[in-house]
């Protein structure tokens, strides 16, 4: 338990204000919205991974009582709905640019909200059935007759990149949409030529899915009189959803309103607009009444954006002492059934070399389409993948060339004095104490005491292993954010901001900022985020941007409130503004016993008729900023596992994490973020996978019976520590905290697993490290001739 908060200011583990409604069942999630007269939509989804749609016959469905309409891709086109405006590249200027190395433009195809000619993955929407009730709509969906011409499908990343693979778009020359070169090819080749040691890994960071516990849901409305659409749907941000929706519907942005209250998890999965979010309001217009759609869990597995799926071949060159000379390789990202996002590929490859001194690097980065659900950024988009690769390479180099794993890291880890450091891809790491984080993690995980624990485990017939992984995380995201603070004379403060909480506790941590800077009790702060009629600008929650950008625009607004308030208070207190100080919510005249509270000043602003123009009216201020610099959270995790070699089963014995956040606003919330992040990272490394049958493209893991979700008994209590080395590129010294738990977890976990199997000479275990995989690795290593063993 976090200690009790001593105040509600920055740095305190303040208990969350949002919790009361959530623990009493009074939260309001998307599916809790019910509108009078609403009809219900069911999505008819393609049962084939790849099929041409020859014809759709809805007559039998429409004949069923209670069925209102069946809408198809043809209706969508004839109604003029536009493609979804996915922007495949990150928009942040600090991320590296990628383009095809041959100079041609990347292949991007329009993505409509429903299949219009072909379905390209199992679960792609083929028709929308609207009826009086969901059960009627389901029955009707079964009665829709779709004439499919089934086409050959390809699902696996490397296979999809082959020139002879079944092609998703006839007008593309292959499934490779982007084929970029990053880094310095010649310098890297030269470094490899003089290397004493070269270590190589070929691996696949498998496809997983975010699984927010709240399935998606949407209620759409259309008001014919005002020609306005309203969408109630949980998402990572209201403003972007509104803008995208307006583009798809082909209406001005002012004709669209998006509303959301509580959002049951995101992790990137809710980061971009979904086809259903456009189909539902459109259907409401067609049906002349509100339309509601609630995703069922099997549909989530089929149609939620999925994550990861990167095939990597990488080599690390070292000199005889173990100094890193260069890194090279190839990354192939799988964007699924539409080339909608190259972001994870981009955000991964640009920090391939992690926090290590790397004189040269070169990578080929490709993105392919395949007959699988589309992928998007998933918690720490692109970075866990590459951190895993780098940390595996280091452990492999250590075991193959006889270095100590920790010493090898110490030797190559950047020192504080070397920062800012430009990595070989051009990313500039601003600040931090990477060695301190690593040493702290070694201590927290009791690295020194491990041999005794290993021996003890051996006596019990178990194999115990320990792993370590450093990480860096590039936080960029949508660069623009806006906050507006209004002080009401009755003691309330409204804070309008364009990012939104999906469980991160903004109602508490943002209120702590307001308390710190304006002295207002946190319970008097009302946070407004989920109504685009009020919130006009903002990027939403992703890429560690909410507190990073939110703090600055709130700070600017608070300072502006104080500046304005000082001038008003000067009138009220009949003093010169220069003699006023703002402290603990009051403007005080220095050296005199006269003061006015912030709220008295707000009342004066509303009442005094002779104030200068800019001070009259409500006491309010806003800040609208664009953040063009990336932030680089970092840290180090240590993990210890114990394996039963007879069964291949595994238990996580200890997990220790040190994460630097620059300056912690609410440490309780940050520890919680780290816990959840670790579970998602370890979940991938240990058990999760979206498994597509390679032949048919069927998703064989489309329920909780089949998709292995981490449960309480998969984990121990975590030891987490926060460090606060101020970030030099953030005016308040903050670094993001939401993704660091996940970023090193894949690598540290597999490093621990492989270490546990050292006795058998196992070189590597692919993810997910299921009992079967571990058991086979032991068996195969035992069967291998001794010369083939690493030790």
């Amino acid at each position: 338990m976090s200690h009790a908060a001593r105040s509600t200011r920055i740095g305190e583990p303040v208990r969350r204000r949002e919790d009361h409604r959530l623990i009493t069942g009074a939260g309001r999630f998307s599916d809790d919205v019910t509108l009078p007269g609403q009809a219900y939509a069911v999505m008819l989804r393609s049962p084939h991974a790849h099929a041409r749609i020859r014809a759709i016959d809805s007559r039998n469905a429409l004949a069923l009582p209670g069925v209102i309409a069946v809408l198809t891709g043809a209706d969508l086109r004839s109604d003029g709905l536009k493609p979804i405006p996915y922007n495949p590249f990150t928009l942040h200027p600090a991320d590296i640019r990628m383009s095809n190395s041959d100079g041609s433009p990347p292949f991007v195809a329009p993505c409509y909200s429903m299949a219009v000619d072909r379905a390209r993955y199992v679960g792609e929407i083929v028709a929308v059935v609207i009826a009086q009730t969901t059960p009627i709509a389901k029955d009707a969906a079964e009665a829709v007759d779709v004439d499919y011409e089934v086409l050959p499908a390809v699902t696996r990343t490397v296979a999809a990149a082959q020139p002879d693979a079944p092609r998703l778009w006839d007008d593309a020359s292959s499934n490779v949409c982007l084929d970029a070169d990053v880094g310095a090819k010649d310098a890297t080749a030269a470094a490899f030529a003089r290397a004493a040691h070269v270590v190589k890994i070929e691996t696949w960071i498998q496809r997983v899915t975010g699984v927010p516990m709240e399935p998606r849901a949407a209620v759409g409305e259309y008001d014919a009189a005002t020609q306005r659409y309203t969408l109630h749907a949980g998402s990572g941000g209201a403003v972007r959803l509104k803008t995208d929706l307006a583009k798809i519907l082909g209406v001005p942005a002012k004709n669209v309103r998006v509303l959301m209250d509580d959002v049951g998890g995101n992790f990137g999965t809710r980061g971009m607009i979904y086809p259903e979010f456009a189909l539902v309001p459109w259907a409401a217009r067609r049906a002349g009444r509100p339309v509601k759609w609630t995703c069922e869990r099997h549909e989530s597995f089929l149609s939620d954006f999925q994550g990861r799926d990167l095939a990597v071949t990488a080599e690390l060159a070292l000199d005889a002492q173990g100094t890193f000379l260069a890194l090279r390789g190839s990354n192939i990202g799988n964007s699924g059934g539409h080339p909608g996002s190259f972001t994870p590929l981009q955000k991964g490859v640009e920090i391939m070399s992690s926090l290590y001194r790397m004189p040269a690097a070169h990578f080929r980065a490709r993105s392919v389409v395949s007959n699988t659900a589309p992928t998007r950024p998933y918690r720490s988009s692109g970075r866990p993948e590459v951190m895993y690769v780098m940390e595996r390479l280091i452990d492999l180099a250590a075991s193959e060339f006889g270095f100590d794993r920790v010493e090898l890291r110490r030797r190559n880890l950047l020192k504080q004095g070397e920062l800012p450091y430009t990595n070989p891809f051009g990313m500039i790491y601003d600040s931090g104490d990477y060695h301190d984080a690593m040493e702290k993690a070694l201590k927290l995980g009791d690295w020194a005491g491990f041999p005794a624990r290993r021996t003890e485990a051996r006596r019990r017939g178990r194999r115990r292993g320990i792993g370590i992984a450093n990480y860096v995380d590039t936080a960029t995201g949508a660069p623009r954010e806006r906050a507006e603070i209004t002080v009401h004379p009755d003691g309330r403060v409204d804070l309008v901001i364009g990012t939104i909480s999906n469980g991160q506790g903004h109602e508490t941590s943002f209120a702590q900022l307001v308390n710190e800077w304006l002295g207002v009790p946190i319970d008097n702060v009302r946070l407004i985020t989920g109504d685009t009629d009020i919130v006009k600008v903002g990027g939403g929650t992703h890429s560690g941007r909410s507190m990073r950008m939110g703090s600055v625009v709130i700070w600017n607004s608070a300072r502006e409130i104080i500046a304005k308030g000082t001038r008003i208070a000067a009138r009220l207190l009949e003093s010169d503004p220069s003699t006023l100080r703002f402290e603990n919510g009051r403007f005080r005249v220095e050296g005199a016993d006269r003061s006015a509270s912030l709220f008295e000043v707000a009342a004066a602003a509303a009442q005094l008729g002779d104030l200068p123009e800019d001070l009259r009216g409500p006491l309010a201020a806003f800040s609208d900023e664009t953040f063009n610099i990336a932030s680089f959270p970092y840290g180090c995790h240590v993990c210890e596992v114990e394996i039963d070699p007879e069964l291949g089963t595994l238990e996580i014995a200890r997990y220790s994490a040190v994460d630097d956040v620059g300056r912690a606003v609410n440490p309780m919330i940050i520890h919680g973020q780290v816990h959840g992040g670790i579970a998602q990272g370890v979940g991938q490394a240990l058990m999760e996978q979206c498994y597509y049958d390679p032949g048919t493209g069927q998703l064989l893991t489309a329920s909780f019976m089949d998709y292995s979700m981490p449960r309480a008994d998969n984990f121990p209590f975590f030891s987490t520590e926060i460090t606060e080395v101020p970030c030099t590129t953030h005016p308040l010294g903050m670094r993001p905290a939401g993704e660091g738990g996940t970023t090193p977890a894949l690598g540290v976990f597999i490093n621990a697993v492989v270490d546990a199997l050292a006795d058998y000479g196992v070189r590597h275990v692919e993810m997910p490290a299921t009992p079967e995989r571990i058991w086979r690795a032991i068996r195969d290593a035992r069967a291998a001739p001794p010369a083939g063993r690493a030790r």
Binding site: R15, I23, D31, Q673, D713
Partner: protein, 158 residues
């Protein structure tokens, strides 16, 4: 359609339900008690956990029509109006929720766990007994701590 009468959170209620209507649908759609959530379609997630005649059940796995005469407690009725149950308090105190979607089911399961396993719950027991409740946000760390503390607090208040 059949009429089913039952007591929900101390109130006698009746509703017209189809044979296929689930208890969770009765609660959410007919009675508008939306604190009970639906997180899956295979009885795995536990978001829908309520107490049926004093025992924890997944309300997505119970037919409403089979609840004639039953007594149901949902998260909304766990504590008297305006008060918190010690388990609810423990969840807040220990930061055992982030998005809060799994939370009502977690709390109802936790209270049922205390009924079955007593107030003195060790970590191992709590983790094993949470088999039927999924959370994607918290990594379970604080949920386990909260349940241990909440169970102990229930003893003190009992």
């Amino acid at each position: 359609m059949a009429t089913v009468s039952l007591t929900v959170n101390g109130q006698r209620v009746s509703a017209e339900v189809e044979g296929r209507t689930l208890l969770v649908q009765l609660l959410r759609e007919h009675l508008r008690l939306t604190g009970t959530h639906v997180g899956c379609d295979t009885s795995q997630c536990g978001c829908c956990t309520v107490h049926l005649d004093g025992k924890g059940v997944k309300s997505c796995t119970v037919l409403a029509a089979s609840c004639e005469g039953a007594t149901v407690t949902t998260i909304e009725g766990l504590a008297p109006e305006g008060k918190l149950h010690p388990m609810q308090e423990a969840f807040r105190e220990h930061h055992a929720l982030q998005c809060g979607f799994c939370t009502p089911g977690m709390i109802m399961s936790a209270v049922d766990m205390v009924r079955r396993k007593g107030n003195d719950l060790d970590e191992h027991t709590v983790r094993e007994q949470l088999e039927g409740n999924l959370c994607r946000c918290t990594g379970y760390h604080n949920i386990v701590k909260a349940i241990q503390a909440g169970a102990a607090a229930m003893k003190r208040k009992a």
